[in-house]
């Protein structure tokens, strides 16, 4: 790694560069920051606040269970607490914390200056926060969700759950939207914004992991979002997805939930493991042993986690062969997890380990996670699971995996990176005490649950009979829970205390090896004045070698550009210099857009048309203002000139972030419509008759929609090929851009009208049968996809009309063509599900 700063920009240039990256001050600092460190810190702090609230709920439940037949909590309150505890820990703590950590660390580790879509990153944070607030508003209005964090139908359906369930669903939907958005950010920053020279084989394990995790989030969280929507429709407009009387099936919810729920476990564990893959080598003073094996293990674990969902449904009466497919997958994944464990042990064995606080938490992780992994192999076996299902054995198992696999690594990571975040060292003495309290408390809490579960204590029940003989075990668990809580509180005190009293740390107090340790502690707003060049897997441990091509890019970005925020965009495989990606500055609009979405949720909950109407105005206004600000800034100053005279500020295709964003949005839409189609296929094979009445059968309308979409793609694509790759296109090319954008917009509008017209023309009744409900859902999904395509095309139109950078409309039209292609796939899947699938009769 080289960061040669002997010759460089003048003091004035450095000052202008610092000004371009200046953080907002005063009140603006609360609502406007978009820089990845601000957003990452907010994610992590908010997540930990939710963590302590969720922990308090757990303590209340442990008090209730300390003795048999207690009535400290009523059954209803107990149901509410275990629902909110699970929901909080899974949706509001674990995943958002890790996304926050990734938002903070990834640009620093990869040598970038910010996340690719900084404003969208902020928007995601606000969605998450407002989703959490909506969920917790249930306590204020006295309607707390009580159907469990899994919300099984029919318990969560219209028959048995009140408005509390709607609050849960809306809060969750916002948090899920945030997670999916964060996943797109992570994929782009890892694949295309690495420092020059950081080829895939030199990429930090944390980056490999977050790349895989982001893919998992897109493939697994979208089905939950779809499932939540189906449940909300069943609850509020009487669709029939989960109603057996009308061709629905409650088991569909379990499929959709666990298609999300099982990968979610690995979305938490894999980043935890990645933290360990950074902490163990640094604190053992030895490179990670078996880097390619570890990368392969991460990929295998991530992919296989997508195929394990049925092992949560072993007791639902599925056929033996079906169970055996998923048992095979569940057993396979344990081998991949074991590979990582062997790599860490080999690294410890080969190095000179230091018993620092991060290392203590890492060792605690190893011990606990391996124990949880062993019980995981046990419950992966269908016959054993049939015995242990819904007992405290399962509670013990997943807390070993989640706390061992995620919380201990997170605490290791916090102590490891705290000097980087704050510039201060936390107290080693207090940290050690907090580790032992947490470790002993954890095992005292959860180890006895294995026994109480095997002895027959069911989970999710507010009390137990004294004759069951598990009173002492439960008392031990309760005592352990308080010791565990004391350890976590002491951890918080240690870290927060270091903010004021900790020793100053310098940039690299541990002698670590990755790029974040090159930056100041805490890092400056732009992270790196001069972009580092990477020539090895451990840039700070390897002897740097010189590559003129890479050095040229580093020099071009040395405290530059100065009138616009920008960072290098590099090739996917080799991280060779490519173009410059513009990075957005502070703004208020993402907050307003997220607030509009929360307002829409409130309007739906209050059943107020006025609030809903106002929310639509806020959302549309915020997005339009956001886009106008983007175009205004991109038309300014240096953004028309190549950085260093060589690196274009944006270029067509995958050479700029927008293309990746459009491709990501298209993939999300396709996953969503495929989920709906899978749901209908599942219902069809389980129904004696499908559909009950006529199928949609409107081939001309459907074909017309498809043709209009093909026209939208063609026009956008044609427009994106007109004019040179510079900012001074001839008038004919400008006219072509305008004509293409207008044609594409018109074709999209026609497609929207035709798609929506299918519903009234089909004469179906969404309350009659689940097929009819499914058609409504598919038509709505298609309409939403078309609206997104129209939105992006109108942005291209605005880009053409508002500024002089001629390359910008070209790029925007190409992005629109990518998104329209995704919409065409959505149309094809929707058509197959409504018209072709019903023809398959046995």
């Amino acid at each position: 790694m080289t960061t040669d700063q002997e010759t460089g920009p003048s003091a004035e240039q450095r000052a202008r560069f610092a000004q371009a990256w200046a953080r907002p001050r005063g009140l603006r600092r609360i609502l406007m920051p978009v820089q990845h460190k601000s957003v990452g810190t907010r994610y992590m702090v908010t997540a930990f606040v939710f963590f302590f609230v969720g922990g308090l709920q757990a303590l209340l439940m442990r008090v209730q269970l300390a003795q048999p037949e207690q009535d400290v909590l009523s059954p209803q309150t107990y149901n509410e607490l275990f629902t909110m505890h699970g929901t909080t820990m899974m949706f509001l703590f674990a995943v958002p914390f890790l996304e926050g950590l990734a938002a903070y660390l990834l640009p620093l580790m990869l040598g970038a200056r910010d996340m690719p879509f900084a404003r969208y990153n902020t928007f995601n944070y606000w969605c998450y926060l407002l989703g959490g607030i909506i969920l917790y508003s249930s306590f204020v209005v006295g309607m707390v969700p009580d159907a469990g964090w899994f919300a099984y139908v029919p318990l969560s359906g219209p028959e048995f759950a009140d408005k509390a369930m709607d609050i849960w669903l809306f809060g969750l939907a916002l948090a899920e939207l945030a997670a999916i958005g964060a996943a797109i950010e992570m994929i782009v920053v890892v694949l295309a914004m690495r420092a020059p020279g950081m080829s895939l084989d030199r990429m930090p394990i944390f980056a490999w992991t977050m790349l895989c995790v982001a893919a998992m989030i897109i493939l697994a969280f979208v089905p939950l979002l779809v499932g939540s929507l189906l449940l909300e429709l069943d609850r509020n407009i009487s669709t029939a997805f989960f109603d057996t009387e009308r061709g629905g099936d409650p088991l569909l919810w379990q499929h959709l939930f666990w298609i999300f729920g099982h990968p979610e476990v690995y979305v938490m564990f894999l980043p935890g493991a990645a933290i360990i893959s950074h902490v163990v080598p640094v604190h053992s003073r030895h490179r990670l042993v078996g880097y390619p094996f570890v990368v392969a293990a991460i990929v295998v674990t991530a992919i296989m986690s997508l195929g394990l969902w049925v092992h949560h449904m072993y007791t639902t009466g599925l056929p033996p062969v079906t169970l055996s497919f998923f048992t095979a997958a569940s057993m396979s994944i344990s081998v991949a997890s074991g590979v990582q464990v062997v790599a860490w042990i080999a690294t410890l064995w080969s190095g000179r380990p230091r018993l620092t606080v991060p290392m203590l938490f890492s060792l605690g992780f190893l011990f606990t996670f391996v124990a949880g992994g062993i019980t995981g192999v046990m419950v992966a076996s269908a016959p054993f699971d049939a015995q242990a299902h819904d007992t405290y054995f399962v509670v013990a198992h997943f807390h070993y995996v989640l706390i061992g696999g995620m919380l201990f690594p997170v605490l290791a990571g916090l102590f490891h990176w705290w000097p980087k975040f704050t510039g201060r060292m936390p107290s080693a003495r207090l940290g050690t005490v907090s580790f032992w309290l947490a470790f002993v408390g954890f095992h005292l809490t959860f180890f006895p649950m294995h026994l109480s579960g095997l002895w027959g204590m069911p989970r999710r029940v507010y009390t137990y009979d004294a004759g069951l003989g598990v009173g002492v075990l439960n008392l031990l668990s309760t005592i352990g829970a308080f010791i565990f809580a004391a350890g976590l509180v002491l951890t918080a005190i240690t870290l927060l205390g270091a903010l004021r009293r900790g020793e100053r740390s310098g940039p690299d107090p541990w002698g670590a090896d990755t790029l974040e340790w090159v930056a100041d502690s805490p890092p400056a707003s732009a992270n790196f004045g001069r972009i580092p060049v990477v020539t090895g897997r451990a840039p700070l441990w390897d002897r740097p070698s010189h590559d003129p091509k890479l050095e040229r890019m580093s020099a071009a970005f040395d405290h530059a550009p100065q009138n616009v925020r920008a960072t290098p965009f590099t090739t996917v495989l080799s991280a060779l210099p490519n173009t410059a990606a513009v990075q957005a500055g502070p703004t208020f609009w993402p907050f307003l857009a997220a607030g509009g979405l929360a307002l829409a949720a409130a309007g739906l909950l209050l059943e107020s048309g006025w609030v809903l109407g106002a929310s639509v105005l806020v959302i549309v206004g915020a997005f339009v203002a956001w886009e106008l600000q983007n175009e205004r800034e991109l038309g300014a100053g240096e953004s028309t000139e190549p950085v260093g005279g060589e690196y274009l500020v944006e270029a067509p295709g995958p050479l700029s972030p927008g293309w990746w964003g459009a491709a990501g949005a298209a993939v999300v839409l396709v996953v969503a419509v495929t989920t709906v189609a899978f749901s209908l296929l599942f219902l069809q094979v389980n129904a004696p008759v499908w559909p009950q009445g006529e199928s949609l059968g409107l081939p001309w309308l459907s074909a017309g929609t498809g043709l209009a979409l093909v026209l939208a793609i063609s026009a956008s694509w044609w427009g994106s090929r007109q004019g040179p790759l510079s900012h001074d296109a001839p008038p004919t090319a400008r006219g072509a851009h305008l004509a293409a954008a207008v044609t594409s917009t018109f074709a999209g509008a026609v497609a929207l009208v035709l798609a929506v017209a299918q519903w009234p023309a089909g004469g179906l009744d969404h309350t009659a049968h689940s097929y009819d409900s499914g058609v409504l859902m598919l038509v709505s999904t298609l309409a939403l996809a078309i609206l997104l395509g129209l939105g992006l095309t109108i942005c291209a139109l605005l880009a053409r009309l508002t500024h002089t950078r001629d390359i910008r409309p070209r790029i925007m039209l190409q992005n629109a063509a990518v998104l329209w292609t995704g919409v065409l796939v959505v149309w094809a899947v929707a058509w197959a599900a409504t018209d072709l699938m019903p023809l398959a009769v046995v």
Partner: protein, 126 residues
């Protein structure tokens, strides 16, 4: 001067494909095995008819065998990529991609075998 083999576009595409094919093949093996077996058996049961179990079982195993062959072929390509990168003093990136593809191929091939054997030893539509 010609580019080293490992940096030519065709070699690059092959090296990347060798990394991507095994995971995709495993996902297809699990997904298609589940959909073909479970959905077909359920559809027949819902219609009150006897399912053609031999046909369903054969279809599942055939699908899995095809996907297994694809996965192993990707492994061979990966192994050759790795060997060329090591022997010819080529790019370390391609050596890494080759090794990664090989590990993934072996891991996912084992996973596909574990899925494929089930219809051979269990009753398909029990």
């Amino acid at each position: 001067m010609a580019a080293p083999e490992a940096t030519r576009p065709r070699s690059t595409r092959l090296a990347v494909a060798a990394v991507l094919v095994p995971p995709v093949a495993w996902v297809c093996a699990l997904g298609l095995s589940y959909v073909v077996q479970d959905f077909a058996c359920t559809a027949y049961a819902s219609a009150g008819r006897n399912p053609p179990t031999a046909l369903i079982g054969t279809a599942v195993v055939t699908l899995d065998v095809v996907l297994l062959v694809l996965t192993l072929a990707a492994g061979v390509v990966a192994w050759r990529t790795s060997r060329r990168a090591t022997a010819g003093g080529g790019s370390p990136l391609f050596g890494f991609l080759g090794r990664l593809g090989l590990f993934l191929s072996l891991g996912f091939a084992a996973g596909i075998v574990m899925i494929a054997v089930n219809p051979l030893v269990l009753e398909v539509c029990a």
